[in-house]
């Protein structure tokens, strides 16, 4: 065993080198799954992730023959001490017709809080056909203590949406922006109790 022929050692190191490359490659692949997953979501509508902001919604021909009911949901993740609701529960629209709806949001605490809204559309396949020109979800929202805001969303449903879909739901969930004050419960408790003590 000690007198291993040299070519065998060379073979070993070649195999090790290749396998280590494979290991590093697969570790990288694990991370590459993150952007790949986004592509996958775009294609399949997984989780109903909506697309980025679009420039204009005027380009579609309005399809008067079809009507689609769009429902609006508002959710708050557990850390978020805001009041949040759509001002209308649903609208019935023709595909291609731009619509503006409003959400109401109110900071119920005595502290400024930065929130981020996460949109989600169901059924997932409809997500990429719902195109938004204006949405409070594109940027984070800062609400001063006790502040109340009306936040608009302007969107259009692409008329090429599958004819099988007659209803869709647009949902927003407000989270405290990660890493800001209030995101961590500990920070929040101390700040709110400080506010209460004052």
């Amino acid at each position: 065993m000690s007198e291993k022929p040299n070519n065998e050692k060379a073979d070993n190191s070649r195999i090790i080198t290749r396998l280590v490359f494979l290991v590093v490659g697969m570790f990288g692949f694990g991370f590459a799954l993150v952007p790949l997953y986004d592509v996958f979501c775009d294609v399949t509508g997984l989780n109903g992730k909506t697309g980025e902001q679009v420039k204009s919604v005027e380009t579609f021909r309005i399809d008067e023959q079809r009507s689609i009911k769009v429902e609006f949901l508002a959710n708050l993740n557990e850390d978020m001490p805001w009041e949040f609701k759509p001002l209308q529960n649903s609208v019935t629209i023709h595909p291609g017709q731009p619509v503006k709806i409003d959400y109401l949001v109110r900071n119920m605490t005595a502290k400024d809080i930065i929130g981020q809204a996460i949109p989600s559309v169901s059924p997932g396949l409809a997500a990429k056909y719902l195109q938004k020109t204006e949405c409070f979800c594109f940027t984070e929202q800062v609400l001063k203590a006790g502040e109340e805001k009306i936040m608009p969303v302007i969107f259009v449903v692409d008329p090429s949406l599958s004819a099988d879909i007659h209803e869709m739901t647009l949902s927003y969930t407000f989270f405290v922006k990660p890493g800001t004050e209030g995101a961590d419960r500990g920070v929040k408790v101390s700040s709110v109790s400080k506010a209460l003590a004052n």
Binding site: N47, G48, K49, E71, L73, N75, L76, N77, E78, D79, P81, N89, S90, M108, T109, I118, S120, V121, S122, P123, D164, I165, H166, E167, T169, S171, T173, F175, D184, R185, G186, V187, K188, V189, V192, S193, L196, A197
Partner: protein
Amino acid sequence: MRAAIRVAGFISMMLSSSLALAEYKLDLEPGVTTFSQGAYEIHTMVMWICVAIGVVVFGAMTYAIIKHRKSKGHEAASFHDNTTLEIVWTIVPFIILGFMAVPATKVLLNMEDTSNSDMSVKITGYQWKWHYDYLGEDVSFFSNITTPDSLSLATSANVKQDETTLLDVDNRMVIPVNKKVRLLFTSNDVIHAWWVNDFGVKKDTIPGYINESWIKTDKPGVYRGQCAELCGTNHGFMPIVVEVKSEEDYLDWLAGKKAAAAEAAASAEKTWTKDELMAQGEKVYATNCGACHQASGQGIPNVFPGLVGSPIIMGDVAKHIDVIVNGVSGTAMQAFGGQLNDADIAAVVTYERNAWGNDTGDVIQPSDIKAAR
């Protein structure tokens, strides 16, 4: 060989025991929706195909085990491949799988068709309860387990065991018969899964995202289920109860819920007596707090703090309200601000400050909570 007989014994037991153990379910139930019936049919078909394949394969093996043993003087043959045979047993399973795949695909496509619903209910998973929101009706409520004593070792023995133990809630979800009810799922914290077997619906609730499914049934009744995704300590204690009612009864129920909500709003404005607060507080405490802090207020050592003589409760009211409204970082203490109304918080704060010998004498009014929020 005896192993094979034992397996056969189990299978025959599975078939015959429905008589012996009538009260115990052994198999899926067909349920009351097209989903659950579709799932049941495909389940039954695939199971029997598997049993048939098993009988053939294990039968051949059992035969070999009995006949082709050395102790019987059997000499080993020398064959070790047979291309025709190998091709046959690669292709035949393909065909069998095809027979399974076609009906499975049909059932699945039906399930995913959520269009043309009559009403929508948003279902939100919380640690550890469900919230139902009837969209467009302004009716929404939490649904908690009715036996909070079940949640801890110290009190579990107090729970009476019956058919609905762990499967009963204070506020049932109610839906009308013969209506297509669209269900929208999301979560407040971690991933839960809403599952009622009789409907064949099991969907994950995912924080930040929505999922959907639907129910339509022509059979009124009470249907029970449980959370089906590990969601933390009390995962086993967030049951689901859905009551399917006739259209009129459903509308009555809905009207009742609205009236109750209006009453609760009004009660937040009035000034309560201490006795009223204590009575209401005891109820609120049992539903929302007792699971961890225990009905006795003693908590569980090293896990959930006791409230008897607790510095937070005996100390500053503002701090006490803050803990209930906003929760405590890094602990299981949730923020109840979004879950309870001002009257309930006032009642539970008053209760905690005066129960179990915590006789602070403080009386907290709903208006105090409103001011503190």
